[in-house]
Symmetry: D3
Subunit: 145 residues, 6 copies
């Protein structure tokens, strides 16, 4: 088994606040990131697909296909958006790096698991000094009831 990882970038804004909590509670949890005006990041995404190297073409999967799927499912959805207002499920879920990574997993997995290969992990950098890794089952966290 070999894994191939491709990077992509998108620029988006967000803020972190659970609507079930007060403004003071949200500020205690998230600091300045709780301000509803929002702030933004150049998110860097790494998508890792694992599988056998195809004996015909010597790749785990075609790189042009991988790039196209990442563009369609993630970059075109997230790029230049205010996540809380423009990208579901972040109208209901706090767009922390953890929750964004899980949402990206849900979007990519059905497109990438095929022909013996599978999506192995997602790494999402919110800043160069902070990143999240996710590989697993979808779940919803931070949902306001």
């Amino acid at each position: 088994m070999v894994s191939i990882t491709r990077k992509a970038e998108f620029s988006a804004s967000h803020y972190c606040a659970n609507p079930r909590l007060s403004a003071a509670q949200n500020e205690a949890l998230y600091g300045k990131a709780s301000s509803p005006s929002g702030h933004g990041h150049n998110y860097v995404l790494e998508v890792t697909v694992t599988g056998e190297t195809d004996p015909l073409h010597g790749m785990v999967m075609n790189l042009k296909d991988l790039k196209e799927i990442m563009n369609e499912e993630v970059v075109e959805v997230y790029d230049h958006r205010f996540l809380n207002h423009e990208v579901a499920p972040f109208d209901r879920i706090v767009p922390t790096a953890e929750n964004i990574a899980q949402d990206i997993w849900r979007r990519l997995e059905p497109r990438l698991n095929a022909n013996g290969r599978r999506l192995r992990s997602i790494r999402l950098y919110e800043t160069p000094d902070l990143f999240v890794d996710y590989s697993g089952e979808p779940r919803e966290a931070g949902v306001a009831a």
Copy 2:
């Protein structure tokens, strides 16, 4: 003359649209960046100060002072803000990288020009692939009348 450069980061959102233009005209100019919901970046700022090396301490200027001035004049003002709505003059001026760099120059120059040293240039990265350099007189561009 020696120059010393210190980096700092701030995360902010913005959008690019001149209120004197129509939405279609703004989209033609700025593409997706014109959406008023906004999007964001991890801005990286490099501030360069030039002067003689002080014979007492061997520095162009004290590094702790430089860091403190950059925090007070830029990071605390810009970080975790929606520039168009929360940071003047971007209620009136399009917050392009060019205009942000010039605003940062205006904020820093009076604090840094002292004791024979002077602010030499500002470099502002909007993304790792796009940056602006500014060193000069303040001016206002992209102002909506």
Copy 3:
């Protein structure tokens, strides 16, 4: 399970020599790094914590807490120190990247393992071209008897 990783930096000096060995033996093992005057690095540390995403706040752990714990347990202890002379156990243990990573693990694990989350791994860059990963039980290596 999701993992979150935060980076921190510290600048320290060290040298690599086992006092049970002769100077010639140490030089054969470590080259120029065995010189007792010491040399230094900008160490970059990545701390990875894994757990469930909290349904209230959507994070594996609060980022401000993680930053504070890393500062208290690592940065304030190691930064701007000569490790062999100023930071235990490196009076007794050779401060190789391997041993430093294990010491950092010992310092962080009791603070980070709580509320269902746990410290998963430590990555320590000695230079941009050399790094160590550690995730496991504490042990002492390279101790001079």
Copy 4:
């Protein structure tokens, strides 16, 4: 168990085409990368060795030995070469990043697995935005019969 990773770089050219396929089929698979004139990359290699920290010297393996083995087995073989024409088995196998990583594994494993330590994984960057991870059994893929 601790792991140590060392980086190295080599500059090489390659093209991607399976001689069993037509030029049109190869272009459909690989795009511009199928042009037989070739193009090139600054490949970045990360080699990870895992083992116990030696109680004498506090290292998983001697860093000078690791550097020397990487130079002898990889850099001197690959650097400044046109892989398809000058480095076996790429006269027979398409030099995709997947296949190169597996070839590097085959070259390094016999030299690195010794004294209780073992080669754990190879990461090969073809560009800063695309990399492959391999850790396992040698195999041959994309061979033209």
Copy 5:
């Protein structure tokens, strides 16, 4: 005056040899880089344009235009090519980083000097550790008579 810089990448192969010199002389000059089979790089190009900030849109020049011009004049010409064989003038001129930077200048300058702005400089990275800056008049160097 403000300057804006945009990065682009292209992957190409080349070798360095002046046909007026013998193979031994070329190897003495360029080392392994003189092998006619060629080797390759991920070249990183930075193009800097300087001018007044336009009072209407707050930019030195439209970023989409800059990207398109760089793609048309450089990336589509150089990317995935063997420079000595496929890109003039490198059939006659040694494709050193110095000469490539000057050729890029010649291609870009007529498209970028307009409306009061001008191409100020080209930076070309051949590897992360080696780059060339050029800003000036076109000239031809290393031409074989």
Copy 6:
């Protein structure tokens, strides 16, 4: 005129204190960096040489020569040293980044100014977030009388 820049790295320790000042005064100036035990950095050096592109070989200067001069004059002198104790003039001069850059200039200029080319500038990174540029006359600063 074209400029070529080559990077090199060295790991060294230092501390910043002027012996004419008290420990308290030095700490007020330099903070933790004034501790005489020292601390260290992975210094990154960029050396820029400018000149005409040679019509024979298409380079400003031979890259192997540049690398060799940088190794002889800087890396072999500074690497794995405690600058205050092992490298003159830092027994007398505070090894701030400003003063180190000027010392490197003094060492390199006589070797690099030849055949119409000249050393144009030195950039020295003390950390990824702090660097110094120098291009000019040698001088001595921060000397204790």
